[in-house]
């Protein structure tokens, strides 16, 4: 029945999907009924995907086309449009808008610490530190256990040169049981600034035992040990930061220094060169006139604040206001991927799938495109029945991460649904080669079955069975209905 449905849908399509890859042959094996085994394969297929740690689960993103196109709830046309060109705004307008957001947050959520935190951040960004402090103090009075305002107040104290005040505030937080890598980082920085280098080192050593993979803290530890003349320890810490992905100029400078002092001049020169490269790249606006850099910084601040304020409104259920704020952020920075993703999530939560599709397509068109954005677009496009978009998105995902099985599996399922079984088999095989999951074997078995290659279908099912034996605890996963028995 399922096969018939798929064939019908395929015939209904006016234009078959483009095929850019050649299918490969699978061995011909005797066909068996898919009943029972197929069901198990399907159940365990989901398990395999989960075990493989795919961020976007097959079931989550792959909602197969409905039984009949007429059964599908009609989707409205998109209501949002996204510009690709940043909206113009003067520095004064940007500043005014920032203040406006702070006022809005305080007016609407005057008793809500997270809203006030964002409002205080606005004033801190504008160097209106007294106002920022006033609001953060209110945050603390409303939620004494909230760490963020306390760290923020400590940061302001440090910027004013009042490091001891910062140390006191952060130490109190620590004594009250707060613990986070950020708290440790700020406290260690403050301790270091007042010359309590040994205390900073001890704090960081303790922190890194608890929160090991934090590159910033390894770097700070290395810098601290460098100050303490513990050169070998400093080198180890700095290299760990490098291992964890820190590529900052600060790290390379410290590595240069430590290697130079250890007499390892070739290494020192190598790190020096890396540092030079970063110096040449990092200050992207270093040669820009002040007004340009200031306006750019103000725009970045506003976009970030709009994003944070949008999240507050969304959390409080005012989706309309949240959407307005996020859309304004995107107007100012059409390439802000995080905010675009947040908006897409929000729209999907409201079941505004066509609008979410617009946002996801915008994300995929960013340069460079992101693999997960492609997968997400495929998901949304599937829901809309827009198979061309599904195919394009999955092919782009394949180009971006050719080693990943998920796009191949997705295409295999798409081709199964539209009756292009040869292509489905080729892509299912490709998925199996990349990651032999139950779902991939299931798709392969189904494609072979449709092509009349029963031996190959059975072989795929056997392989699935063997794989399934490894995950006996998942007895009753949700059904993936593309492998309904005939």
């Amino acid at each position: 029945m399922g096969n018939r449905r798929r064939s019908k849908r395929a015939s209904n399509r006016t234009e078959p999907l483009a095929m850019t890859r050649s299918p490969t042959d699978a061995p011909a094996v005797e066909s068996r009924t898919a009943d029972g085994l197929a069901g198990r394969c399907v159940r365990l297929g989901l398990v395999s995907v989960i075990v493989a740690g795919l961020i976007v689960g097959v079931v989550a993103w792959w909602n197969p086309p409905p039984d009949d196109a007429n059964d599908r709830a009609p989707f409205a046309a998109p209501t949002i449009r996204l510009s690709k060109v940043p909206a113009e705004a003067t520095t004064e307008e940007l500043e005014k808008e920032l203040i406006g957001i702070s006022e809005l947050l305080q007016r609407r959520f005057g008793e809500l610490p997270e809203a006030l935190h964002v409002a205080a951040t606005v004033h801190a960004e504008l160097r209106q530190t007294r106002k920022a402090e006033e609001i953060w103090r209110r945050c603390i009075s409303l939620a004494p256990t909230n760490l963020a305002p306390r760290v923020a107040l400590a940061t302001i104290a440090m910027e004013r040169g009042e490091d001891q005040a910062a140390i006191d505030a952060l130490s109190d937080a620590l004594a009250e049981g707060h613990s986070s890598p950020e708290l440790h980082h700020h406290l260690a920085t403050a301790l270091s600034k007042v010359g309590r280098i040994e205390d900073a080192e001890q704090l960081l050593l303790g922190s890194l035992q608890k929160y090991e993979p934090v590159a910033e803290n390894w770097r700070l530890l290395g810098q601290t040990q460098l100050q303490l003349e513990q050169l070998a320890e400093a080198e180890t810490s700095l290299l760990r930061a490098l291992e964890l992905g820190d590529r900052s100029g600060e790290l390379y400078l410290a590595l240069t220094s430590v290697n130079s002092r250890l007499g390892k001049e070739p290494e020192a020169e190598r790190y020096r060169e890396e540092f030079r490269k970063r110096r040449a790249i990092l200050p992207e606006d270093a040669d820009q006139p002040f007004q340009v850099t200031y306006a750019a910084a103000m725009r970045r601040n506003l976009v970030n604040i709009l994003g944070k304020a949008g999240a507050v409104f969304a959390h409080q259920g005012d989706m309309r206001q949240a959407e307005q704020l996020l859309l304004r952020a995107i107007e100012l920075d059409p390439e802000h991927a995080e905010i675009l993703r947040e908006l897409a999530r929000m729209l999907l939560d409201q079941r505004r799938v066509p609008d979410a599709w617009v946002v996801h397509r915008h994300l995929v068109e960013l340069d460079p495109p992101n693999y997960l954005d492609c997968i997400n677009l495929a998901t949304v496009a599937t829901e809309l029945g827009d198979y061309d978009s599904v195919e394009q998105a999955l092919r782009l995902a394949m180009d971006l991460r050719p080693q990943m099985a998920l796009p191949y599996l997705g295409l295999a399922r798409l081709y199964l649904d539209v009756g292009r079984f040869e292509e489905a088999r080729w892509h299912a095989n490709a998925a199996v080669r990349r990651e032999p999951s139950l779902a991939a074997y299931a798709a392969l078995a189904a494609a072979c079955q449709e092509l009349g290659d029963r031996d190959a279908a059975d072989a795929a099912r056997d392989a699935a069975k063997q794989l399934a034996a490894q995950y006996p605890s998942f007895e009753d996963p949700p059904l993936v209905p593309t492998l309904d028995p005939p």
């Binding site: 160097r127 130079s260 006139p289």
Partner: protein
């Protein structure tokens, strides 16, 4: 009543340092009103916020008439485009009367240049025994030759050191190749002129543009031909290879190899260390030796700099002042001319983090044998408090006392009323103005009178001061490296010509000795070669050490 309220509000807005002397061994008294110095600086601005306005200027402390008393030369601004003045502002020379007062001798001496003064250095370029003055201006520079009779002659053109019409900064004399003649390094800031002005607005306030708005201009090195003239050797010496937005500078021997290197503070760019290969050719090695950036790899807005051995390990360290929201940087010389930012470990200046800081000196104020740090503070923008309440345009200055254990303590609020003065301070210079064996302070303040601080520290520590007399080396011993041994205390110092923020001071070396009452040995390594040793010098005296003699002579003070 309204006026009274206004006064209260204004009073509350001005940063005030409440002074409480609770046992601090350093005591600096504000002597400005009693000094007779009436000079008032002007930045020449009229609200247009030209870039040059915020640079203000340095000053020089020198003994121009060889009377054994340190005199004061103050740079002034000049009217910028659009500024109307009744009286043309000029630089001023104040002669030290020896009684705590000074007399304006500018006119008689002929050093009242009306150009826009930014940097100044004193040095005896012609080895005639009298210190000459070089002014690094916004516009044509000036070389004043000291005639030895209390007058000077502008010989810029004859000497070939006018350097064109540039935006000057610091300047320094050095003997780059040990030939006994002082060469001249002229730092330049950026390629600014009225037509290229890019003044900005920030929240309805005029806001100064920064170095990023203009192209940097290469510095210039003039080689001394030995006949009273100079040649531009920037290309052949390697100096022209790179350009930065130069500000303060100092020439010093970074690796104790007997050759003078050149350190340049660059505004928002990597600092330069020009390493001397011994023949007078230079290679820029700032990054390689750890002086280009601070510990975070940041290119700070470097302003002023001094070199001195803060930890008495025999190597000259550097202290550098920076822009707002940047720590000043104490670079410790680890030996071999490799430096490490130890600011945090030494606690050297975190209290000035919110402020812009300029002139500086590594100076032993309490004669305990450990060099303290003076920092001059002041912002660029009179309206800065409206934009950033963490700092102010006018601020008290900062004094960090060296505890002798590698760390400093901020004693600004307990070392006398001298550190309670609130001004927008820029250039700062240090010498013993009253010859009482304690180092005094002169600070040039933007659009205001200078601050003169007399050191009246209540300590009975001993000291010696040394003036060098070169014979084959340059006459004032610029670049000479001096080691003083007093019992368990060994100190080193070097004669620098040009330091701090575009200023000059310290031709006469000063060593605090604590309670040690005898100096066993003084070793002088002269620029250009040759080492002399002088033994058994009495303390609490000023000495003249002449090259090749081995015999210390007491310096005489000649008061009229």
């Amino acid at each position: 009543m309204r006026i009274a309220c206004l006064f209260i509000v204004v009073f509350l807005l001005i940063p005030v340092r409440i002074w409480a002397d609770d046992g601090c061994p350093i005591h600096l008294v504000d002597w400005s009103d009693r000094s007779g110095v009436t000079f008032v600086h002007t930045d020449g601005g009229s609200g247009r916020a030209y870039l040059v306005e915020f640079m203000v200027a340095g000053l020089a402390l020198l003994d121009y008439d060889n009377d054994g008393l340190i005199d004061i030369y103050l740079l002034n601004g000049a009217p910028l485009r659009g500024t109307v003045v009744r009286q043309t502002p000029r630089n001023a020379l104040y002669r030290n009367n020896g009684d705590g007062t000074f007399t304006d001798v500018t006119e008689r001496a002929g050093v009242g240049d009306a150009g826009y003064g930014l940097g100044v250095v004193a040095g005896d370029y012609n080895n005639n025994g009298f210190q000459d003055l070089y002014l690094n201006n916004f516009g044509p520079n000036v070389l004043y030759r000291n005639n030895g009779d209390g007058t000077f002659t502008d010989i810029t053109s004859q000497a070939g050191v006018d350097a064109g019409d540039l935006f000057g900064a610091g300047a320094a004399f050095l003997d780059r190749n040990g030939d006994g003649n002082l060469d001249l390094y002229v730092a330049n800031y950026v390629d600014f002129c009225y037509d290229k002005d890019v003044s900005d607005m920030l929240r309805r306030y005029r806001f100064y543009a920064g170095p990023q708005d203009y192209q940097p201009v290469p510095d210039i090195l003039f080689g001394n031909n030995g006949d009273g003239t100079f040649s531009d050797i920037s290309q052949s010496s390697g100096i022209a290879a790179v350009a930065g937005a130069g500000m303060g500078m100092i020439c010093f021997d970074s690796n104790n190899n007997g050759h003078t290197d050149i350190f340049i503070c660059n505004d928002k760019g990597a600092n330069f260390l020009w390493k001397n290969d011994g023949t007078g050719r230079f290679r820029e090695v700032g990054l390689a030796v750890g002086l280009a950036f601070d510990v975070s790899g940041s290119a700070n807005g470097s302003m002023g700099v001094d070199a001195g051995d803060f930890d008495n390990d025999g190597w000259l360290d550097l202290f550098m002042t920076d822009f707002q929201a940047e720590m000043p940087v104490l670079y410790r010389n680890l030996g071999r001319g490799v430096f490490q930012d130890v600011t945090r470990r030494a606690d050297a200046g975190r209290s000035v983090f919110p402020h812009v800081n300029w002139g500086t000196g590594l100076v032993d104020f309490d004669n305990d044998g450990w060099r303290d740090i003076f920092i001059a503070n002041g912002h660029l923008l009179p309206e800065i408090e409206q934009l950033d309440p963490r700092t102010s345009y006018r601020l008290p200055n900062t004094l960090l006392r060296n505890r002798g254990d590698g760390r400093f303590e901020d004693v600004s609020d307990r070392c006398g009323d001298g550190l309670a003065v609130v001004e927008c301070s820029k250039g700062a210079a240090f010498d013993d103005l009253d010859n009482n064996g304690r180092i005094d302070v002169v600070v040039l303040n933007a659009n205001s009178r200078p601050t003169i601080l007399r050191n009246q520290s209540p300590v009975d520590h001993h000291w010696i001061q040394i003036r060098l007399r070169g014979v084959t080396s340059n006459r004032d011993g610029v670049g000479a490296w001096v080691r003083v041994v007093a019992d368990d205390l060994t100190q080193v110092a070097e004669v620098h010509s040009g330091r701090s923020y575009q200023s000059h001071y310290g031709t006469r070396l000063h060593f605090g000795l604590g309670h040690r009452d005898r100096v066993q040995q003084v070793t002088v390594r002269w620029a250009g070669g040759g080492v002399d040793t002088f033994t058994d010098l009495a303390v609490d005296r000023r000495w003249v050490l002449t090259q090749g003699t081995g015999q210390p002579l007491p310096e005489k003070e000649r008061r009229e």
